[in-house]
Assembly symmetry: C2
Homo-oligomer: 275 residues x 2
DNA sequence: ATACTAGGCTATGTCAGACATAGGGTTCAA
DNA sequence: TTGAACCCTATGTCTGACATAGCCTAGTAT
């Protein structure tokens, strides 16, 4: 009807988000770099075929995420990467979706996970409810199913596996029933999908990883905080190997990926190393 | 001059932020509660004396922070608290500024800090640069100066002390040179200012706290990760006491989770939130 | 009587055009 | 060389209008 609809808002009703999304694709993929200027509003209007208010709406979103800064009378400049709100859910989604894997950045997220997930697992073992355990179990079964599909010979769906992997770890974060950690679950997605997209684990390696996840889940279910802590360390050791940070999945918890730190102190030997 | 200035944009050039700020004050103080509806746009225009685009701009900011949800044709509804992006710098500022201290929430942030700051301190001890150490030192001297002013008898400026306290811990977070932790430094402000606003430490207690901070700083400067870890635990033990979480600042690093809420918030047996 | 549809009302989403003002550069004079 | 006055550009804001999603109500058919 009315093909020449004047406003023609038949498509989406959320144009600002579309603008932000498209620009984010360029921002996160590195097409626009910090310090550079984005096209001016009128040019973006032209490029997207939308009115100025909608374009401004999109720019506003990016601005409130610390990704760009709007300078009155001058234009829109890309902020330094360090200023971006990397912990915002939308930003983490964009990272997982558009960013090309940056080894340095992945290593930093891993460093964070490596230091915290054992603690989180212990807390989860103390506080997890039946609902939390269910979420973990469903995610785990999803990983299992994806892996079996792969072993059945079909072409193997990496994204299905990594989605459930994300869900598994997020369930543990949420099981702490702590607002801060629950929100930090968002950084899992870029951390996991970016590595899965590039690395090439064998079926055997994945099965090993799955076993470690199962063990972690069992420790949480049985309410054994200390065992859960150790189990989480073993999961992270596996992840470190898949990320290429350690040469051996059973190698100790090398804390920092980059060893340029002038540490005259011996690194912390894991206190309870039950083999 | 031109009293009938039509546009009269004499005041600020950032009306959207003003709207967001004012609404945030109401949102964080509990005047608007999750599930409720905000006034409609035209009413807000009237209340703030601004045009619809500006008001929409402010609502857009709150929306992109997960604080409200805009429903086309219906209105603006306040999201559940758990959906708010509590890790966003602007949100943490609003929490520190407008939220009345919620014991439960403070306990959760403390739980997070208690679990992570020792690790962070150890990492900082490995990676801190001269610039990081300078930032820590300046913040520490700021705390010292504020405390001495207090002991000199003048009326004592809590906010000066807590600002430098925030800066001190933030410097440690940043000294890790890890993007994730650097961003997490933002949660320090509500955690610290909210407790300082309510608690009533004596000068002696503050001096004790200051000593623990100094020791932590020295351990980091001397690049002793393990000592820094322990020193951070002692700082957190002091903080736990000031928060009313533990009865004794030297009561070991009792993992706060199960022991919190001694007097003012009787702990529920079931962790389920459902009422 | 119940269920389903049609219509109207409300509040948000989008558009168009206009003016005001901050930032930055340029020109001209002291 | 330096300073001030000028102009241009791009963003910030306003006004007024229409389009559409969500919701409520009334009317009709079975």
């Amino acid at each position: 009807m009315s093909p020449a609809a004047s406003h023609s808002t038949n498509a989406s009703r959320d144009l600002g988000n579309r603008v932000a999304e498209e620009l984010a694709a360029g921002l996160f993929s590195g097409r626009y770099r910090p310090g550079e200027m984005l096209p001016k509003e009128t040019e973006l209007c032209d490029a997207f075929g939308m009115s100025r208010p909608s374009v401004r709406n999109g720019l506003q979103i990016l601005s409130s995420l610390g990704i760009v800064r709007r300078i009155s009378g001058k234009g829109t400049v890309v902020e330094e990467f360090r200023e971006w709100n990397l912990l915002d859910p939308m930003v983490t989604r964009w990272m997982a979706e558009y960013a090309q894997p940056n080894p340095n950045f992945l290593a930093e997220i891993f460093e964070f996970r490596h230091a915290t997930e054992p603690t989180i697992a212990a807390l989860a073992a103390r506080k997890a409810t039946a609902r939390d355990l269910l979420a973990m179990e469903e995610a785990f079964q999803g990983m299992e199913a994806a892996l079996e599909g792969a072993e059945a010979g079909e072409e193997w769906d990496r994204s299905a596996f990594s989605d459930h992997d994300v869900a598994f770890h997020a369930a543990i974060y949420r099981a702490t029933h702590n607002l801060v950690w629950a929100q930090l679950a968002h950084i899992l997605r870029p951390s996991i999908t970016l590595v899965v997209r590039t690395s090439n684990e064998t079926a055997e390696e994945l099965r090993d990883s799955l076993g470690r996840h199962r063990h972690l889940m069992e420790c949480i279910r049985l309410r054994r905080p200390e065992d859960a802590e150790e189990a989480a360390r073993r999961v992270m050791a596996r992840t470190a190997f898949d990320l290429g940070i350690t040469p051996d999945p059973d190698a100790g918890p090398g804390p920092a990926p980059n060893a340029h730190a002038p540490d005259d102190a011996p690194k912390k030997a894991s206190p309870h190393r039950r083999a």
